[in-house]
Symmetry: D4
Subunit: 255 residues, 8 copies
């Protein structure tokens, strides 16, 4: 502890980083940032922009970089991206800032950040174009955890030949994240064809009865082929748990 305080006194450590070191979290205007999350759970603390002002999000992104050398912001829009870039530019002008508009994510790496790298592959599979947002979010989280990510798009069951075309590629992955909206049948069909862990992501497409992803969620929970499910549009959750699976496999390979 004395070392940390000395480093603060010497200006080598910001008070935010020092607090994170001592307590495991940093305080910001927009609440606490749980800097110890990744160490404790293997999953980086994501900052959800939805429901926060752009300034609050930017302030948490800065705290994240300050304490963990990286930041992962989800559900961003253009205004939030702008606010983050401005604040990050001031504080970490050399940081690498990557915005993915389909996935609606913003990923920040400080120059000194050493991203993890796993020897395991996750395939992120979508039924159609409208599944791009949660699938993209899952892919970004997986990449941050260090997994190799394979994207397999537009293989929905309405034209099932498309799925069979890509089956070999899918089977090569160590774990699958499968996003589908409307009736959400793709994960069920796929789970009957592969022998690796499969996480299904219901997507909030569709209208009328069972719209907003409720039909897809219910169908995945009732699937006649066993599979795991996350909440509607919960790409982050799917990517995080798929990342843990990839991490375990990678660690086992390294044993």
């Amino acid at each position: 502890m004395r070392d940390i305080l000395d480093a603060v006194a010497d200006g080598e450590l910001s008070p935010t980083a020092a607090e994170a070191e001592l307590r495991g979290y940093a305080r910001t205007d927009a609440g606490r940032f749980d800097a110890a999350r990744a160490a404790r759970t293997g999953i980086p603390e994501g900052i959800i922009a939805a429901g926060k002002t752009p300034e609050e999000t930017a302030s948490m992104a800065v705290a994240a970089v300050e304490t963990t050398e990286c930041a992962l912001v989800t559900r961003v829009d253009a205004t939030t991206v702008e606010a983050c870039r401005t604040r990050l530019d001031e504080r970490f002008p050399d940081a690498d800032v990557a915005y993915d508009d389909r996935a609606r994510t913003l990923v920040v790496h400080a120059p000194e950040y050493e991203p993890p790298s796993l020897s395991a592959t996750a395939a992120v599979v979508t039924a159609g174009t409208s599944d791009a947002f949660p699938a993209g979010e899952a892919a970004v989280v997986l990449e941050e955890i260090g997994a190799r990510v394979e994207r397999i798009d537009d293989v929905g069951v309405a034209g099932i030949a498309r799925l069979f075309d890509r089956l070999d590629a899918i089977r090569e992955a160590d774990v699958l994240v499968v996003a589908a909206g409307r009736e959400g049948a793709l994960p069920t069909v796929l789970a009957g064809l592969v022998d690796v862990p499969l996480i299904a992501v219901p997507v909030s497409t569709g209208y009328g009865h069972g719209g907003s992803g409720e039909a897809a969620l219910a169908g995945m929970l009732q699937s006649c082929a066993p599979l795991m499910v996350v909440n509607i549009d919960a790409g982050f959750t799917a990517g995080a748990q798929a990342g843990l699976i990839a991490r375990s496999i990678s660690a086992a390979r390294a044993e």
Copy 2:
């Protein structure tokens, strides 16, 4: 009208049959029997045993045979079947009485009844064993309307190879009735592979969230491949409308 009354006077026509002739329906202890239904809508009036006492059901079955020379009773159990047989034996000892315990139907044909015969085929397809009840009900209704019925069972998507094995047989039908429970994905997959009318029947299997057929119903309504839907377990409805489609095609063939 005079002819009818004369026939009653002569004992050639029962009062029940005379009333049906004059008004289009017959009165029974258990309510009216709509004897003109088949003529008006092309669909025989089904007698739903569920919610009636065995005696009420038997009384309506007798009225049906008396006025239309046939009866179609659905959702029967063993006690109801017994009650119907007893009453029918007294009144129509020569009638043909057929009980299907999987379909839970009882079909009665008076000796003089001439069943319709269509030159059109309906395939009744199931995902698994537990879909036998509504699929069977649909098949019986289709047969009463006169369609040729092809049964294709156990082709659920969890082992999709089974479906492809039977695809040629399925494609030969003029209209499809497809029953599936749990997540109900089979009709969606099939609708992307065929070019004939397809009626999906959600089945009340499954448990937990979306159980009792609600997940299957919602998924079929949201299907990314266009298809028609009936209520959960509504085999009669599916068979009746598939029968109308078969009848139209058969009539067109005869033009």
Copy 3:
């Protein structure tokens, strides 16, 4: 395959059209376009504008015309129509572009396109003015499939005399699509009066409990007269399946 590649080399075939020929689908910025859909299922691949940017929709419309000589875009708004017209004008200046603001559809025919023509009629029936959108969508799909379409409007059951006035016209059709909101009683009443296949479309009118079309959907599924149902506002689905029925009848007539 060599022929196709030669044609591309000679500039007689665009790469998009060549890919569609070879794989059955074309890739666009907004995802794949399933060019083989109509051949496989008898139903043209509809492009749903809702949930896409005007540019994405326009890009898919162009791919559709390029590969199938026609395009059918649904749930369009004014901006999307404008974007489509602009892109189509550049690429297919002689195409016929028809926008129906009530049905919210955009239909495009290349000059060389030969639309199908069936000898079968579908009646599209509405209960009231607010059913115009899904009814119109169903009618447009039916026309694209080649059916003759008869429109019967404003015959809701609150003034049931209006329905009886039009009953003869309704009975002449080979198949019925019946759209109704609020309590959705019209299809039930009608199904007791006709002997042709009937597809009910619940419409998202009404407010309070059972609003957004849920009361109409539940009522149609529970109908005491057998009928087929599609999801709330699902005019495309109703039109597509009614089109398959019309196509089967037409083919039977031609046998």
Copy 4:
């Protein structure tokens, strides 16, 4: 008050009746009986047997007769009827006890009871046989309030000619109670054809989505023709309010 206590002392008044006189309610083993209800609201206090033991119900029926000279018990079964008869026979051997097994009601009149009689008519209309229970309950309540009751049965919309046959009879009533299950369309159709107050009773028939009367309830609340609704199977409520309407009209006629 002294008079009442004197009457108790003289054995002319039971303590229960005295308590009811003084407080407006009587205490029983099964809770209070609100003897002043009819005077205050024009609606007799109904004793709901469902959820009570036969003994509790019988005890409340005795208290009802003791304090108001009559009793109205609803949702009875055979055991409860037996228990009531036994207890009533002991205490009020001359009372008139009427059990209606379709309506599941038990009505008790002490010999000295003078039933009310109104110069107004209520029609109780049903769509089919399975609506007999709530319709019967409504009719019994109406009769206890003194209205003339006309029963119009089996006029459901699946065979709408049956409804038109009886329309004149229906139009003669001062107020309508209309019970229907499944999709519950009858009250909507009827409300577009008559100009008297109409109370719709959804009935708990049907199965699958919208079963247990929920589809009928939602449809009646959404009805495109204005009408009043009570809860599913709430025949008592419908009869009670229809009785108040009949009572007001009868009183106005007497002015």
Copy 5:
């Protein structure tokens, strides 16, 4: 019929009015106007502005005045009111046009219109300020039907003394319309205190679980004191049926 056509020829009757005379309804750009509704059901045809363009609403309002000498438009906003005034000014410059912004209604009377007048009173009771919209709508409908209307506001049960203060005034009415949001307890409490027909209107106030009026609706349907219910915010329906009750009582008084 000849007379009507002659009158059209002579310019004494507009084609719209002539059509209404002959068929019972008039055609407008926005659909049919059921001009015979009031005669058939005792309830004027209301024009619901919500879901229509201002122009469509105005066009129907003109058709209503043309065929029935009056118009009743509900759920209007400022723009619609403006559009209606403009169109009505052109066509019926002397008409009386009354806009009620709380009730969100627009009432139009042609100079020659003779409004009905009943000798019966309806009380419209509210629990709080936020019930003003449906209560106002009910009051306007009642007035158009000719009932005397008494408004009793702000007597919600959270301060129950307010209710007892106004109880005598409430008891004088022939029929009650009682609007309440949140938990909707007012109609239940009131129904235990009065002996006249009572129609409860759940109001879409409140938030969280049971918000949007669903808690109030469910509570009114479950009320331990019998009462009639309409859909959430359905002031028109409540006013229309209360009007029919008032009309019957008024007619009985006149016998």
Copy 6:
């Protein structure tokens, strides 16, 4: 710890009691019994009989008495009571065993048990007879915590005079538990009349829409008068928290 082990060795302490002393919980065939619960949270660990076999319940009751000198079993039926009595008689022949059939509770006190006694009063108020089960459960829990309990029954709002008769008694309590089914209006009316903490308990009475206590729960959550709510029929929870409030007040009085 040595003392405890010595006591076990000497037979002064059973192994179960020793384990509870050391770990805070005791192991039984039916799972752990949290013997430290009362000390930690002020609320005795209740044993819910529903969902357990009579033997499992009895085994946990014995463990409870062994470790805490008392046991509180809820949702018991006759068979479970019998099983408990048998097991308790063997092990603790002198224990006081009290069964309340309305509250469906079984309370056991070892002879050496010294029940707590608070100087604070809780009133348990019910709307009607059918609220007896959860109200009784709450009362028993309150008594075990040591509060004085006042019962106020049958004061439902359908006859609101009954409530006003008892208002003074209600106002004397330090905290209120108010149970009501159907529409659940009683707690709302009462919360507008008193100035002490009020916990509302929705009761699973009623039928149709909003039945099983859902209407009452939603109404209590939406109450226009602020109040606290527990789950449907959750008498234990209400009694436990009311007991904590009484305990705090009692402690404050003792300061």
Copy 7:
């Protein structure tokens, strides 16, 4: 009463204040203000800005200050705050006006107002940043009732060490208000660790199935540790009842 009227005549009392004195409530443009609420129930009448125009809210705030020397406005936005400030400045230029943008409350104290002060403490605990609104609302209500308020923020269970860090502070309070969104697990965990009354507030965060606070509400009602619940986001209700508990404890301390 004469004194009040004399005071009005002398200009010492405004008519609004006089009416409040005489009747217990004041009339404003936006409905009645229940000035006697605090005296009757111990909870100040809150003015909910949501659903009112800024002018209506301001008018009620003025009436509140006029009759009770204070005002508590909830769910305000910037426009409403501005409107209130303007109106209050005119009428009560010396009043203390405090706006809390996180809690979305506006509190007004007239100079002569003597706020209550209790010797009891409430802790308001939040799981995360997004719980700030209802937690803040609860804190403001508690302060107006006079309780000491301790804020404990950001102790959600995803990083449970944060909760244990603050447990001693939490245990010192006399009553707890615990706000949590998403799955809402914090109150359950906390209720197993403390022995004071605990009110849980579900917060409308989260998305997909169980979003809008419904998962948190259901989880709190089902909590395996007994606790009390209010509606989603109902900070006012939680603060009001916690205030009553604090008031009772404070009063007991003063005995």
Copy 8:
């Protein structure tokens, strides 16, 4: 194929086993048994006894042993177990038949069966006693797949110290299955403390709002700590996917 037919001819292979070899599934009275499932997906085909007659279940169990040398039957009751034992004894007298009454599973191993064995561990964690059924089912499936299984019971969050006592044991596992009913908070708390994949199983305990496991399911889907979810009581699904994860890790260890 010739070899197989020769083996049948020689009696070395039963027709059932031959069919399974040739087609991948075997036909039984109760439907097809998918003998190739385990090879294709890594998960043994489970036979769900619920919804089948004991004879149907027994017949499928025999087919399973015949084709795969083992059988896994779930949701059995005593009668089904008896029927299976009888049939298996006749056909495979030396088979090992293990019945687990808490897990409600029946596992059959032919003498020649060589069960898989993985070098990976799954922990199956429960909140309380009532979670035993789905947790047990998951454990049995895991064991059949070959994983080592560690059981950690009764660590629900109401007494959170119990959880911390076992945290080290939990952290040693490669994958976690965590079952909890009521509010289902345990998986959320645990997911914030571990860094291995976690599958949450909601259990159908609890009553009232959110009962039958719906509150637990919604809370797990909304969890603020990322985790994977299966349907209510879906122990088989959780065990199957956890088994796939264990299998992948085991395979990686063997690389």
